[in-house]
C-alpha cells in the first residue's frame, strides 16, 4: 500500500462547492467531480460532509460514488497514464502498452507507483482510434505508440519532473 497523507477537509470548502449549484440535490455527481478536482480524490470525510450539506443519506452518496469509475476513494499519482484499450487500440496492440507500463513501473491497473508519480489507468476508448494504439497523460494525447515509445514517454515524464523539482530547490 502507498502511504496516504491525511487530507484536511474543510466544511466551509465543501459548502462553497455545493453553493454553486442551483438544483443542489440533482448535482451530486458534479459536486463530487469538483471535490475530486480539489483533492485529487474523494476523501471519506468530504463524502460525509456533502451528504450532510445536501441532505442526502450517506448510503446513497456512497452508492453514487462507487457507481462511476472515474471517482477515486484514494489519492492517485501525479501523472495518470490513461492507456486506451478500446477496440481499435486492442487490435493494434494496446495490451503490450499496458504490459510495458506494468513492467517499467511495477504497478497493476489502478495502482500508483510508490513515489506517487504515476497511476496506471486503462480506459475504454479515448476516441482517437485512427492513431491506435494511443494513450493520454494530463490531457495530452499520444498516438501510434509502441511499447518502446511508451517506455520513453515514462522516462521523459520522470526527467521533466526531476528537473522541476531541482528548479524548485534552487529557487
Amino acid at each position: 500500500m502507498n502511504e496516504t497523507k491525511p487530507v484536511e477537509v474543510d466544511l466551509d470548502d465543501i459548502e462553497e462547492i455545493c453553493e454553486g449549484f442551483e438544483k443542489r440535490e440533482g448535482s451530486a455527481v458534479q459536486i463530487l467531480q469538483r471535490i475530486q478536482e480539489k483533492y485529487g480524490f474523494v476523501p471519506a470525510e468530504a463524502l460525509e460532509l456533502v451528504g450532510d450539506v445536501l441532505g442526502i443519506p450517506k448510503s446513497k452518496m456512497y452508492g453514487v460514488l462507487t457507481f462511476y469509475s472515474q471517482f477515486y476513494q484514494e489519492p492517485r499519482g501525479k501523472f495518470i497514464l490513461r492507456v486506451c484499450v478500446g477496440t481499435a487500440c486492442h487490435v493494434r496492440g494496446a495490451g503490450m502498452l499496458v504490459d510495458k507500463v506494468k513492467e517499467e513501473l511495477h504497478i497493476n491497473p489502478g495502482e500508483n507507483t510508490e513515489d506517487m508519480l504515476f497511476t496506471l489507468e486503462p480506459v475504454a476508448c479515448l476516441g482517437s482510434c485512427a492513431l491506435a494504439p494511443m494513450a493520454m497523460v494530463s490531457g495530452t494525447a499520444y498516438g501510434k505508440l509502441s511499447p518502446d515509445r511508451m517506455a520513453s514517454l515514462i522516462k521523459q515524464l520522470e526527467v521533466e519532473e526531476a528537473a522541476q523539482e531541482q528548479e524548485k530547490e534552487t529557487v
Partner: protein, 617 residues
C-alpha cells in the same frame, strides 16, 4: 494550456481580414500526432519570415491517418492541404507559397475550392480523392474547415440561419413536420424516427420541458460525435435550440458529455458562452420571447449512461441505472418532466435539414434510412478516419474505395465489426451489405452509432468476441440478473476457450445463454451484449471449433494456444534466437537446429522477431 493558445490564435485570426490563412488541424487526433509542437514551429517560422498571416486551428476533416494536417490559403487561390506535416517540411511549404508563389508539390495532398478564387494546376481536388469521392458531407461539412472556437466562422457558413428561419418563418408544428419529412432517425444507434420523438414530446402536457443532448459516446472504436463536438460545436447547440422551439418552448437543455473528451467539453463551453453573448442563448432570444439555456453535465465514466434513461438518472445526480419504459422520456424525463433526448449527430443534422428542406435530406440514403451517416473507420484499413456517406452505401465501397483497402497488402480482410459492443462481425461474404439500419441487422450486426473496425486474417475472432463481452460485463450496471450474471458466465466460457480449455458443447451453451440474456435484460446494454458472440458463432464457427477441438488459434493471438516451433528446413543454425529468449527456453548449439522448450516458453515472440529467416512460427 491549449485552449488559451487556441483562443489566442483564433482571436487574432478574427481581427485580420484578407490575409493569407494557415489552418492547422488541432482536434484530438491532430494533437496526438504532434500538432501542438508543430504550431509552435509554425509561429516561429512565420515570425522569422515577417509574414502577415492568420493562423487558424481547425477541427477534424476526417483524414485522421494523415494528421497533422496543415492548409495554406493565399488570397485569390484555392486552399492547399498538406498531410503528415513535420517541422522540417513546414519550412519548405512556406517557402513555396510565400517566395515562389506556388504550392509545395512534394508534400501537397489536395486542394479545396474557395469561392471566387483560382485553382492551382496539377493538384487533385479534395472531392476527387478516393477517400472523399464516395462521401457526402452534410453533418461533417464544417469539421476541419472552420475554426470551431469562432462563432463568426460558424455564422459565415450558414450558422444560426436555421434558428432564425424557424423562429421567424415557421411554427413549431411546421418544424416537427419538416423533420418528419426528412426521415431522420436517431444517429446514436437506436434509429428511432426523430420527428416522431419530437412530436411525442410536443404533445406531452406541461410547460416545463427539457432538451437533452446525448454526447456520451461510449462505444469503443467510435468517435463521430467527438469530431462533431470538437470541430463544429455550434451545430449541436443550434440543433438543441431548434428542438427546444419545436417541442414547445423547452426551458433548459442538458448536454451530457463523457469526461474522456476534454477538448470537446472545452470547445462546447466556449461555444455556449459565445452563443450567449450574441443572445442565441439566454433570455428573450433574439427578441422572440423564447428563453433557453444549456448546461453541460460531464459524465463520470459509466458506459451504461449512453442508454437514455440511465443518462437521465445520471443528469439528476443518481447512479446511472436504466428504468423500465414506459414512461418514456417524452412523457417523464429530467425531473419527471417531458424531455426529448437526441444524440449529437442527430442534432447537428437539424440545421441542415431546416435550411435544405426535409425532402432534400430524404433524397439521400436508402428506402428506410434517409440521409447520411458518419462512420469511424478504423483497424487494419489503410485510410482510417471519419467518413460520411449516404445511408445504404455498400460495406465494400466503404472499406475498399474510401478506406483504400487493407493496411497490410499481404494480409487479407477477415471481418468488419460494426456497432461496437452491441454489434457484430460481418465476414467477406457480407461485403455487399448496404450499410443502413435494416440491412446491417439482417447481416447479424447493427449500424449502431457508427464504429467500423476492420480486422484482417491476423485477428482472432474468439478474442474479439471476448474483448467485447469483457467490456459489457465490466460496464453492466448490475441492476438485472440476466445481464450481470449471464454475461459473466458467457465471459468465463469464452476465456476458457481462448486458454485452450474449451469443451464440446460450449458453443451450444453460449448460444443458449445469449438468447436468454438478450430476451430478459431490461435495457439495451444487456439486450445487445450477446450480439458480438452470436454473430461470430454464426459466421466463424470453424474458428471457435479450431480453438476448442484442435487447441489452435488461427490468428495466432490467443497466447496459450500458440506453439512456437523451429522449422528444421528453414533454420540456418545461426543462433540469433538463443540469446534473446528471456526465459532460456531456446537452446542452440553451433551447427545445430535450435529448439524451443514449450513448457517454459512465455510466448513473448522475441525469437520470432530475432529470426531473419522466418524459421520460427
Amino acid at each position: 494550456m491549449l485552449t488559451e493558445t487556441m483562443e489566442e490564435v483564433s482571436s487574432s485570426s478574427r481581427m485580420a481580414t484578407g490575409l493569407p490563412v494557415i489552418h492547422i488541424g488541432m482536434a484530438t487526433c491532430g494533437l496526438a500526432s504532434g500538432a501542438r509542437p508543430l504550431l509552435e514551429v509554425l509561429r516561429k517560422e512565420v515570425a522569422k519570415r515577417n509574414l502577415d498571416v492568420k493562423i487558424v486551428p481547425t477541427g477534424c476533416i476526417g483524414m485522421c491517418h494523415n494528421e497533422p494536417l496543415v492548409d495554406v490559403t493565399i488570397p485569390g487561390r484555392y486552399r492547399v492541404s498538406y498531410r503528415n506535416v513535420k517541422p522540417n517540411t513546414l519550412s519548405q511549404i512556406l517557402d513555396s507559397h510565400f517566395q515562389k508563389n506556388e504550392f509545395a508539390k512534394k508534400y501537397a495532398t489536395c486542394q479545396i475550392p474557395v469561392e471566387g478564387s483560382v485553382p492551382y494546376e496539377g493538384l487533385i481536388m479534395m472531392a476527387e480523392m478516393p477517400f472523399f469521392k464516395g462521401q457526402v458531407k452534410i453533418v461533417s461539412k464544417r469539421c476541419g474547415i472552420i475554426d470551431p472556437l469562432s462563432i463568426e466562422d460558424y455564422m459565415g457558413m450558414d450558422g444560426y440561419k436555421a434558428l432564425e428561419k424557424v423562429m421567424t418563418k415557421m411554427t413549431p408544428d411546421e418544424v416537427v413536420q419538416e423533420v418528419v419529412k426528412s426521415g431522420l432517425r436517431g444517429r446514436g444507434g437506436g434509429g428511432f424516427p426523430t420527428g416522431m420523438k419530437w412530436s411525442l414530446t410536443r404533445k406531452s402536457p406541461g410547460t416545463e420541458k427539457y432538451v437533452v443532448c446525448n454526447a456520451d459516446e461510449g462505444d469503443p472504436g467510435a468517435f463521430m460525435d467527438r469530431s462533431v463536438l470538437e470541430g463544429d460545436p455550434h451545430a449541436v447547440i443550434e440543433g438543441m435550440l431548434i428542438a427546444a422551439y419545436a417541442v414547445g418552448n423547452a426551458v433548459k437543455g442538458y448536454l451530457y458529455c463523457r469526461a474522456e473528451y476534454p477538448l470537446a467539453i472545452k470547445h462546447l463551453r466556449k461555444a455556449i458562452s459565445d452563443a450567449k453573448a450574441r443572445n442565441f442563448l439566454g433570455e428573450n432570444i433574439l427578441g422572440t420571447g423564447m428563453s433557453f439555456d444549456i448546461e453541460i453535465k460531464e459524465g463520470a465514466g459509466a458506459y451504461v449512461c449512453g442508454e437514455e434513461t440511465a443518462l437521465l438518472a445520471s443528469i439528476m445526480g443518481e447512479r446511472g441505472m436504466p428504468w423500465p419504459k414506459p414512461p418514456f422520456p417524452a412523457q417523464k424525463g429530467v425531473w419527471g418532466k417531458p424531455s426529448v433526448i437526441n444524440n449529437v449527430e442527430t442534432l447537428a443534422n437539424i440545421g441542415h435539414i431546416i435550411l435544405g428542406g426535409g425532402e432534400w435530406y430524404a433524397s439521400y440514403g436508402s428506402e428506410k434510412t434517409k440521409g447520411t451517416k458518419t462512420f469511424a473507420l478504423t483497424g487494419s484499413v489503410k485510410n482510417s478516419g471519419l467518413i460520411e456517406v449516404p445511408a445504404g452505401t455498400p460495406l465494400r465501397e466503404i472499406i475498399f474505395s474510401i478506406g483504400g483497402g487493407m493496411v497490410e497488402k499481404k494480409i487479407p480482410f477477415k471481418a468488419a465489426q460494426l456497432g461496437g459492443p452491441s454489434g457484430g462481425c460481418i465476414p467477406v461474404d457480407g461485403l455487399d451489405t448496404p450499410v443502413d439500419f435494416e440491412n446491417v441487422v439482417a447481416a447479424g450486426a447493427i449500424m449502431g452509432s457508427g464504429g467500423i473496425v476492420i480486422m484482417d486474417e491476423s485477428a482472432c475472432i474468439v478474442d474479439t468476441a471476448k474483448f467485447f463481452l469483457k467490456f459489457t460485463q465490466d460496464e453492466s450496471c448490475g441492476e438485472c440478473t440476466p445481464c450481470r450474471v449471464g454475461s459473466k458466465i458467457m465471459l468465463d466460457i469464452l476465456t476458457r476457450i481462448t486458454e485452450g480449455k474449451g469443451q464440446e458443447g460450449d458453443l451450444d451453451e453460449l448460444v443458449r445463454l445469449s438468447m436468454y440474456v438478450k430476451s430478459n435484460s431490461l435495457c439495451g446494454l444487456g439486450g445487445a451484449a450477446p450480439n458480438p458472440v452470436l454473430s461470430t458463432i454464426r459466421y466463424f464457427r470453424e474458428e471457435y471449433e479450431a480453438h476448442i477441438r484442435d487447441k489452435r488459434c488461427p490468428g495466432t493471438v490467443c497466447n496459450e494456444l500458440i506453439k512456437y516451433v523451429v522449422i528444421e528446413e528453414d533454420c540456418t543454425t545461426c543462433g540469433l534466437c538463443e540469446p534473446v529468449c528471456p526465459t532460456g527456453s531456446v537452446t542452440w548449439e553451433k551447427g545445430e537446429v535450435a529448439h524451443i522448450d514449450l513448457t517454459t516458453c512465455i510466448r513473448c515472440k522475441a525469437c520470432v522477431d530475432a529470426c531473419k529467416f522466418r524459421a520460427i512460427i
